[in-house]
């Protein structure tokens, strides 16, 4: 990502809690609610929906469910269906009736109603053609004040909605309002929300900061405005760090927050601070496994010109999480350059690993590396390593990579790729392999020499026909 952060960065932060995720959230909690009602958890975590209905009738003394409950739950499914089909108009129509669940005589359902209504209603208002920011604001303000349970959550989502509409200042104001809101007792879930709200505020400040920084970079140091802008930049950074740092200490996935925080720390030369944040984010066991955490750390260390062994240890973890990541080729290079033999072996493993994934099959660099490295390994008398890797793949790689079809289409699309693949095929499957034979048959003027060399190497090193 470029240093100049733009709004899209903020939107990627929505994976935590945000507008674009409303539909998922909608299905999540809402169906959760329903499950509470309609299914029974038995010891093994199995659901027996029919049992629940039976139990319900027992619980209410054999009386059938009130029609109020029946029609409102039917209404809910109609709304969900309409949302799924993007029929905002119909959804709004049903919503009109669904509001009465706020007055449900069943206190459990009455308490759950505001959240469900908020989620459905905000989704409708987000997409409905007749809706506008004003309508949304009114709705959000109303829903915020039904009970105190949802104030913070709604405020945050309200702010995200405003951000989506480019109303940064309004969003900031909403976040500040929410930040200072005090009502009822402090609970842990509320604390997280307050941290999130503050962090989002920090993110907005970061955005301003980053804009200022860009201005600064355009200015000449001797410009009379320079010092003023620089001062401004500094002030912002201080506020932001306070806002964000509390959140990222809590376990969670906070990618955009971490990124912008680190960027600012780095800018002011606090490398140790930045490294600490990143290391903590990547290695703290309380945090959920997150490949990005390792990528950030790696990129940071690379910028800091950290020793190779350190870089290798970071990527090793990434390799375990995402063996197909594009950084794996860099990892391979690092391993190849290492002095340790086990690193060399791992280097081969990594390459094979990358090419196991369908998304990487056309990656010419990976094939080039593999061709070279397999040859080098075989030349270095490590036939066993290759055999070891090949053992688990020989059943499926031939049809996955080296079929006649692929030979034809690869050659047509990218002759260089075809050559590299043919070389690997020859080494692994012997010169009789169809892919290899197909490429050999092609008469190509420029590649002619290369193919000849390849033929010789295959004859010499192929694992199918080990040297006698």
């Amino acid at each position: 990502m470029s240093r100049a952060a733009s709004l899209p960065v903020i939107y990627s932060a929505q994976s935590v809690i945000g507008m674009s995720d409303f539909s998922e959230e909608l299905k999540g909690p809402v169906t959760d609610d329903e499950q509470v009602e309609t299914s029974v958890l038995s010891g093994a975590g199995m659901h027996f929906p029919w049992l629940q209905t039976y139990i319900e009738t027992v619980a209410i003394g054999g009386k059938r469910k009130k029609d109020f409950a029946q029609t409102t739950s039917a209404c809910l499914s109609f709304i969900q269906e309409a949302l799924l089909k993007h029929q905002w108009q119909q959804a709004a129509e049903y919503m009109h009736s669904y509001f009465q669940t706020l007055e449900d005589s069943d206190s459990y359902k009455r308490q759950a109603a505001p959240e469900i209504i908020w989620k459905l209603g905000s989704e409708i208002l987000f997409y409905h053609p007749k809706s506008n920011v004003e309508t949304f604001n009114t709705f959000a303000d109303r829903m915020k004040n039904i009970g105190i349970m949802n104030y913070l959550k709604i405020s945050l989502q309200h702010a995200l909605y405003l951000l989506h509409h480019g109303m940064l200042e309004d969003a900031k104001r909403k976040l500040s309002e929410a930040e200072t809101w005090r009502h009822g007792e402090k609970t842990s879930s509320r604390e997280i929300l307050i941290n999130l709200i503050q962090a989002y505020k920090g993110l907005l400040q970061y955005y301003t900061w980053s804009k200022k920084k860009r201005e600064l970079s355009k200015l000449d140091k001797d410009d009379y405005a320079y010092s003023a802008v620089a001062q401004d930049v500094f002030n912002h950074s201080w506020k932001t760090s306070v806002n964000i740092s509390a959140l990222i200490k809590m376990p969670g996935v906070w990618d955009p927050f971490v990124k912008s925080y680190v960027e600012m720390l780095e800018f002011y030369g606090d490398r140790d601070g930045a490294q600490e944040v990143l290391t903590n984010y990547a290695y703290d066991e309380k945090f959920p496994s997150n490949p990005n955490a390792h990528i950030y750390l790696y990129n940071f260390l690379k910028r800091q010109k950290a020793p190779r062994s350190k870089l290798i240890s970071v990527l090793k973890i990434l390799y375990q999480i995402v063996p197909s990541h594009k950084l794996m080729l860099e990892f391979h290079t690092l391993l190849r350059k290492s002095e340790k033999e086990e690193h060399h072996k791992l280097g081969l493993e990594v390459l094979f690993g990358v090419l196991d994934f369908a998304g990487c099959t056309k990656n010419i660099t990976a094939w080039k590396y593999l061709a070279k490295y397999v040859k080098k390994t075989l030349m270095g008398n490590h036939l066993v390593w290759v055999q070891e890797e090949w053992k688990s793949r020989k059943n499926w790689w031939p049809s996955f990579h080296f079929s006649y079809f692929w030979a034809k289409s690869d050659w047509k699309e990218d002759t260089a790729l075809a050559c590299e693949k043919a070389f690997v095929a020859g080494l692994l499957l012997g010169k009789g392999c169809r892919y290899f034979r197909y490429i050999l048959k092609q008469d190509h003027q420029i590649l002619g020499k290369k193919i000849k060399r390849m033929k010789r190497s295959v004859k010499k090193y192929s694992i199918v026909n080990p040297r006698l």
């Binding site: 129509e93 009109h96 706020l102």
Partner: protein, 635 residues
């Protein structure tokens, strides 16, 4: 008594069985039902404490029953509260400087003023129900039901109920504050019923018998009640005076009024009047909001406040259920000890022959089927007046589910004609189709398949609309019900919030007037010859499924299967069970179609079909246990 006289004029009531006995019940003016009829304003409605206090000075024993328990009539005369004997002595004789009527008036005004504040009127639960019944009667009148229903029949049933449940028109009404919730007028010349000149002096009148208790009992109970009443006034748990007491009242044999019960009263009156509204129609009108039911309380006068226990008594969150109201109807009729209802004869709407015609039209079946249904009705004896007429005082009080039964007859006829085994009906359809193609000018043969396709589509659409309308139903009244005064602002705030949100979202909805209230109709489907897209089968012929044999017509199909082989003989209420998957798809479809029309469960209709078959194949049931029987019928 007007109602009574009218009933007699119609020859409905035999004089001996005169119900709400004219002499006992004071005539009730129209205004009595129209406005808030009872309460502090009326002459009969005096605080017991006051009443008794005034009468306390009078200590003589009653000449009739020797009790010392005197009340004051509006003329200022003393009457015995236990035997209702009115003395010749009036209060003026003892205390000449009080003019009772004036004092009562003044006191009443006082009461009113006091209660006009936030607290509202003093009112009784039964007044609330009376108000709902009044609204329902008005609605029925607007639906075209004759005015006698409201003025005479329902009115008398209600009076009789008040009497039987000892709430009014009896010696010892359960209300102890003395302000009996009897029906009143503005006119003060009316006083306690005891002062009616035509009062029968025989205490053994059948309606008083039940009220007889030993003297001491009456006394202790009275004093207890007074103290209780005073208590309840300080600790308010309901808007009505007796809400708490009412919800705790549990007496053996007492049928307590509930909101669904009001429909039982309505249906009883409709039945008495032999009106052209079946129970399923009535309930459908309720569901379509043509008859006040859900939140009927919101039309109570402003001064009748509801909260606390009233919530449980008057709040409803369900539509009425056919079976439930049916049972309640019988229960109420038995409790009221009603005489045999007017005969259901062949010219009555509720007679199966007429209902069958109606339902055949409704579901788009050929008119020719009617003669077959009539035949089944005749063979089963279901058309007899004795079978059809409701007689609550018979040994086993039961009434006929007229609508369900008529529909069941149609199902049986369909089974006779088409067997409905997922096979024969289709091959008969093929024959009809071929015939119709060849003879385009003739009257077309009825094609079951074509009928199914058209009905299936229409039915699915109707059902979908119905489900959507239900999902959109707004249950909550403009007047929120709350538990106590503490909750009141919360409840009102919630209501306001909901209204605001609804307003906001209604701007997002296209203003197409889809929400327009349907006008009430006993028909849900309409089929006309002009409609080209939806074929009307009324005029189609059954020639394809019948064959002539000499003078008589026989069904081509000679097989039949019974919906129920064995009836349940245990003491549970059901006679059979309906496991959908055990039956043919055609049968399932037909049951679903009809049970949707009547808004009942398919199992209920299945049960009725089985009962009709039981009558129709009576002999076979007792003689043989063969699975299916062939049957030939004459026409």
């Amino acid at each position: 008594m007007r109602g009574f006289a009218a009933a007699q004029a119609h020859g409905i009531l035999s004089p001996g069985l005169a119900f709400p006995a004219g002499g006992l019940l004071p005539p009730l003016p129209e205004a009595a039902l129209a406005t808030r009829v009872t309460g502090p304003g009326g002459g009969n409605c005096r605080g017991a404490a006051m009443d008794l206090e005034e009468a306390e000075e009078f200590k003589e024993r009653c000449t009739q029953c020797e009790a010392v328990s005197w009340g004051l009539t509006d003329e200022g005369k003393y009457y015995c509260t236990s035997c209702h004997n009115v003395t010749e002595r009036s209060k003026e004789v003892i205390n000449s400087d009080i003019i009772p009527n004036a004092q009562i008036k003044a006191l009443n005004r006082g009461l009113k003023r006091k209660n006009n504040s936030e607290k509202g009127w003093d009112w009784y639960v039964c007044e609330g129900f009376q108000h709902i019944l009044y609204q329902q009667a008005e609605a029925l009148k607007n639906l075209g039901v004759g005015p006698e229903l409201k003025n005479d029949v329902l009115h008398n049933f209600w009076k009789r109920y008040l009497q039987k449940s000892k709430q009014a028109y009896c010696k010892n009404p359960v209300y102890t504050t003395g302000r009996k919730p009897t029906v009143l007028e503005d006119n003060l010349s009316h006083s306690d019923w005891a002062s009616e000149p035509e009062l029968p002096s025989d205490v053994n009148s059948p309606f008083l018998e039940s009220g007889m208790e030993s003297q001491s009992d009456v006394h202790t109970r009275k004093s207890l009640r007074i103290s209780k009443a005073l208590q309840s006034e300080t600790s308010v748990c309901s808007g009505s005076l007796d809400g708490v007491e009412y919800s705790q009242r549990k007496e053996k044999g007492l049928v307590k009024m509930t909101v669904p019960q009001t429909l039982a009263f309505c249906y009883l009156s409709l039945l008495w009047q032999r009106e052209a509204i079946t129970l399923s129609d009535l309930l459908r009108f309720v569901e379509e909001d043509h008859i006040p039911y859900i939140n009927a309380f919101q039309h109570f006068p402003e001064q009748m406040k509801l909260y606390g226990r009233d919530r449980g008594i008057f709040g409803t969150e369900s539509w009425p259920n056919y079976d439930d109201i049916y049972k309640k109807t019988i229960e109420v009729a038995t409790f009221l000890d009603l005489p045999r209802f007017p005969d259901i004869t062949e010219d009555c709407y509720l007679h199966p022959n007429i209902l069958c015609m109606k339902y055949l039209m409704e579901v788009n079946l050929p008119d020719e089927m009617h003669s077959l249904t009539c035949h089944v009705v005749k063979m089963t004896g279901m058309g007899e007046a004795d079978f059809l007429t409701f007689d609550p005082i018979a040994k086993v009080a039961k009434t006929v589910k007229y609508d369900v039964q008529a529909v069941a007859v149609i199902v049986v006829v369909l089974k006779l004609l088409f067997l409905l085994d997922d096979n024969l009906e289709w091959s008969l359809s093929n024959l009809a189709e071929k015939h119709n193609e060849k003879n385009k000018k003739d009257k077309p043969w009825f094609n079951f398949r074509k009928w199914y396709q058209i009905m299936k589509k229409a039915f699915d659409e109707k059902k979908q609309n119905w489900e959507e309308a239900r999902a959109k139903y707004l249950w909550k009244s403009e007047k929120p019900l709350y538990y106590s005064y503490v909750d009141k602002p919360v409840a009102y705030k919630k209501r306001e919030m909901v209204v605001n949100l609804q307003k906001q979202f209604s701007t997002l909805v296209d203003s197409t007037p889809t929400a327009g209230k349907k006008s009430p109709s006993s028909f849900q489907f309409n089929w006309t010859e002009e409609d080209t897209e939806r074929t009307c089968f009324h005029g189609h012929s059954l020639q394809g499924v019948l064959k002539e044999k000499g003078q008589s017509l026989l069904t081509k199909n000679s097989l039949y299967w019974l919906s129920t082989q064995k009836f349940c003989r245990c003491y549970c209420t059901h006679v059979t069970t309906y496991e959908e998957s055990n039956y043919s798809l055609s049968y399932q479809f037909i049951l679903n179609l009809f049970s949707f029309l009547l808004r009942i469960k398919a199992s209920l209709l299945h049960e009725e079909v089985s009962l009709v078959e039981k009558e129709l194949f009576k002999k076979k049931y007792s003689v043989t246990k063969k699975k299916s029987k062939s049957k030939k019928r004459r026409r």
